[in-house]
Symmetry: C2
Subunit: 253 residues, 2 copies
Amino acid sequence: MSDDHVPDDHPRHDSLVTRHRIEDGVERGITSKQGLIAEGRGEAFDYLLGEETIPSADDAERVAAALLLRARHPVLSVNGNVAALVPDDIVDLAAATGADIEVNLFGRTEERMRAIADYLEEHGAEDVKGLTGDGRIPGLSHDRGTVDADGIGDADVVLVPLEDGDRAEALGEMGKTEIVVDLNPLSRSAQVAAVPIIDNIIRAVPNITRHARDLADADDAELAAVIEGFDREAALDAAEARIREGATRREDD
Amino acid sequence: MSDDHVPDDHPRHDSLVTRHRIEDGVERGITSKQGLIAEGRGEAFDYLLGEETIPSADDAERVAAALLLRARHPVLSVNGNVAALVPDDIVDLAAATGADIEVNLFGRTEERMRAIADYLEEHGAEDVKGLTGDGRIPGLSHDRGTVDADGIGDADVVLVPLEDGDRAEALGEMGKTEIVVDLNPLSRSAQVAAVPIIDNIIRAVPNITRHARDLADADDAELAAVIEGFDREAALDAAEARIREGATRREDD
């Protein structure tokens, strides 16, 4: 992998790894121009957050794990940047929680759908959904709202990392419990999610998996207690506060 | 121009115009992958700033105008994103201040250098410098440090919008008075600049031109007074404060 040479203790490790993987994604045809711009937005917010998983995000990641474990039908929605950034971690999370993986693009083309599904399969994913496209998210235009009927269409809990605001809102209105990963606590996606995770996806996804493994033997009451204890407003406020504090604290770029 | 259809009163006007122009720049071969990521970082900081020129930035833009007018040899350094975003405005600013325009790329290739020079010339620029490459910025590797000897090499005042931190630092060490436009007040470029302008380049460059026209008849003592009154630390602090306040104030994305 092209990021193997970034030393673990490099002060901008996550930012450099992320950037290398996204650029590699462009070469593979799975990251779009919009994806590159989104990467830059994420870099800026992660920079202000201090490029680390803050405690409220770690809490949210544990809640996400509990929700996925407890779901009737959990689905992990994967777009171009998610596939480029965390292909192995998504496969691990699906295995740890019994979730389906579905490719779902804001700018849907069959070519990119196929490239992303192939890339995930190279990383060990099985039965990647999304290519059938026989389901719909109400209230969105055709290419934005297309899903698999037996995938996101049937899911009760969906993890939608790096999701567009319109679609995050529409999925919520379908009654699905939505877990969003987004570095901007004020983004509409984060604001409408049942569980907003304000963290870099390259830290968030493996950490949800760690929590899922830790909770693997928990009974339903324990999982319910983890979920009940979560305060989404407090999590959003904590991330905002950290962005403000971070802006005074950091002095390098 | 592809952004003509963004209404002036759209709440995300600057962000949408910027994005359209940058994507157009990719089609023309003048914006790189790094340029798209940088655009995203800028979007995030501009979002937190409130997508407007804050008073301290307007002050810095007036100081920049005075410095350019008073310079022996002012040069405007233009990279791919600057050319894509503000080609007309750079030409206007050069005319208003008697500055040279020099193409200067972090990732220098003859093809991109030529494409950018051609694009600026289409927008009315004359004698675009940068292609000779017979000068050097000490302390940088060859492709990073190449400039024209009779351009940036000879300049006493340089406007380097969206500059890389290493190069901003090296130019400052050459004794040049450096005006930087950067949306991140904590970036190294902003931190090392004599005049850091924390503003979106699509607002900053035309506003420097307005100030230059306003100051066109000022005598040297008046220009010196404008420059003397500038407090770079206060300008950086004001931008940081606005980013923090912005993070609490805005609720849409």
